[in-house]
Symmetry: C2
Subunit: 399 residues, 2 copies
């Protein structure tokens, strides 16, 4: 007997897991895959020595209290710190009661899905978008409608059309900065327009900001939330890409009443976030040179991006369109019309090189000729060596 | 604008939080409350020095990998260890694929609720039972039916009647060992019968085992799961009461297919549990004298229980019934018929003493004359000093 329900039986592994499984199979045979498929930050730069020091200090100063039951809304010094932190994105006028600490930003997305999606709900996303979010919206019963992307963010005209045609919109989901997978950022004009449309059509916006500080040109954009006069935007933050994902620290920013409801949900769901992780993030950000660390990571990622773009230009089929990102972890490519990146995956994979096909990011099955390449986890020499092989394989592929 | 939905708007703070709030208000006025209301283990015994050492070792040996993204099903060495650990409760014949690591046992209960409760579902619990579980079952839409407790666990006759009368039972929830709040344990005969009834009436059992190792007489009972021939029992484990709750480590044990579905849910909900906490628990249990630690805690808790029971006998109203627990954290009392522990709470609280009224544990509003006293977090001298004051206040209370 296994447990069954309509809800559970509809859950399947994420599509990206099929790639992970293929890579694992190769590893079992002793083969190494060069994976441009990941969405990971590079673990070589995680501040492990600092976190080791922080742990020792936490236990020496707080003793057992550091690992006793604690509040469901989060560790107050961290919440207070994040109030200041949000000013980096132009978000002002909030206090710690506007912040809920979550087990990674994924948990915030899940809470909002559980809280706001009802039977018949629509969630509007960028198309393409982050599969982990799309999977969660689907799991909680939403139909996802994707809005075509332009180089300055989703099309506001198409968004308005969809808002006009759909009365049961739970929320609009956007990754405004260095979007996953396209790497593009929404223009300030569109951010303002997005907030106005949300107010006009009486819907909420969920703004996911994991990559916002990973900026290669020194510019940090004002968050959509910073233009939010109406409490229409719920901001989701994360330290997974700027410190380390295994800590599982994220946060939601919203009006106090909304946060309070989400706290009641958290009490039911898992009581509270891991105490030590909250303290690690708090002390690291406040006292341990977070900005210097970030600059080091940014410098490395920028160089890797540049090496990757040069290699793509030199080796990929003529007519390939490259979206050059000014931050984040990903390069999005469109191969010439007619190419199918999903079909050619196994052919390319013979050379032990992996990427993510574009369709994995598209609820409507579009972007068949696109692919996402991650540049954060592979060193520049390896990028310079293997991207040309990837380009050659793509050119060599025949249906 | 705050977010709204039928689901969210139905969530309220847990009833026990109203007591926490009263205690906090007193603290703001500089007054100290002697709280017998908590459900906490005693933080003075948390193995902080060992965990500090473990953290240093983890980072030295695993570097950044220790805090990279990791598997949704959990840290495999911990899962493998728990396979062995479950033998303490007579659970044999499982492998690591039968185990999902969760963020505390509360998360396991929430996953099972989300997965199995559908509109119209009934969850059967002991009456009284753990409010945190009752709140979660309610939040996800179940009607809770409580089965009267006897001194050897819930009444099997009454359970069978409820099973006969209700066709849409999502699961039966039991804390078989040192039950919260009553402190009693289910007999072996009833455990066997419970499994047979679940098979006969085609329902699942969720067995919550947070207190099972906190045994004062050296006896660890075989889990209900150990009698499970039919894969009808999903076992929920936790280290919150045996190591420390702030680590947020729990686990579910079930057939592989059920675990796989719950892993897909975890991928949607929060991706994975905090890496460091999983390693802390693994290394602590395996290499750092977990059993000696447990024995130390047990010896202290047993003495506190004894002091509390003696003080209750000497000072509480005649006719008070004391359930003497052989383990766990709580003593359950029934005051003489007609007493109302909720009504007298504020009167008693004038003396800065808190307890939890019995009705907080009862979905049907029964057990008005009962109360739960926690003995784990107050030292024996304080227990000996304040329980008599509590007893005198109860005797002095007039409606």
């Amino acid at each position: 007997m296994a447990i069954h329900s309509k809800f559970l039986d509809a859950l399947t592994p994420s599509s990206i897991r099929s790639i992970t499984a293929k890579i694992r199979d190769k590893a079992k045979n002793g083969e190494t895959v060069i994976s441009f498929a990941g969405g990971l930050p590079s673990s070589e730069f995680f501040p492990v020595e600092d976190i080791k020091k922080i742990d020792a200090e936490i236990f020496s100063s707080e003793h057992g209290n550091a690992i006793q039951y604690a509040a469901s809304d989060g560790y107050d010094p961290l919440r207070e710190y994040l109030v200041e932190f949000m000013k980096r994105f132009g978000v002002e006028g909030i206090n710690y009661k506007n912040i809920l600490i979550t087990s990674g930003s994924q948990q915030g997305l899940a809470y909002l899905s559980k809280g706001l999606i009802t039977p018949g709900s629509v969630v509007i996303t960028e198309n393409p978008s982050y599969p982990g979010a799309l999977d969660t919206f689907n799991a909680y019963g939403a139909s996802v409608i994707g809005i075509d992307m332009e180089e300055d963010g989703m099309s506001m005209d198409k968004l308005e059309n969809v808002l006009k045609e759909n009365k049961n919109v739970a929320f609009i989901y956007t990754i405004a900065d260095f979007q996953n997978p396209m790497g593009v950022s929404m223009s300030v004009e569109k951010r303002k327009r997005l907030v106005e449309l949300a107010e006009e059509y009486d819907v909420f916006i969920v703004e996911d900001g994991p990559y916002s500080l990973l900026t290669f040109n020194g510019k940090v954009m004002p968050a959509v939330k910073s233009f939010d006069k109406y409490n229409r935007v719920i901001y989701s933050g994360s330290t997974s890409k700027t410190i380390a994902p295994g800590l599982r620290i994220g946060w939601l920013v919203a009006d106090e009443e909304s946060i309070q409801k989400l706290v009641y949900l958290k009490m039911r769901d898992d009581l509270q976030v891991n105490n030590i992780a909250q303290r690690q993030v708090y002390h690291y950000m406040k006292e341990y040179g977070f900005d210097e660390h970030l600059q080091q990571v940014i410098d490395v990622y920028r160089e890797r991006r540049d090496v990757m773009i040069d290699a793509i230009k030199a080796s990929f089929p003529e007519g390939t369109k490259i979206y050059k990102p000014e931050g984040g972890l990903f390069i999005w490519l469109e191969l010439p019309e007619g190419a199918d990146s999903m079909e050619m995956f196994d052919f390319v994979f013979q050379k032990n090189i992996a990427y993510v096909p574009g369709v994995f990011f598209c609820p409507d099955g579009s972007h068949k000729n696109a692919m996402r390449l991650n540049f954060s986890t592979t060193d520049k020499d390896t990028i310079a060596k293997y991207i040309p092989i990837l380009g050659e394989m793509i050119k060599a592929y025949k249906k």
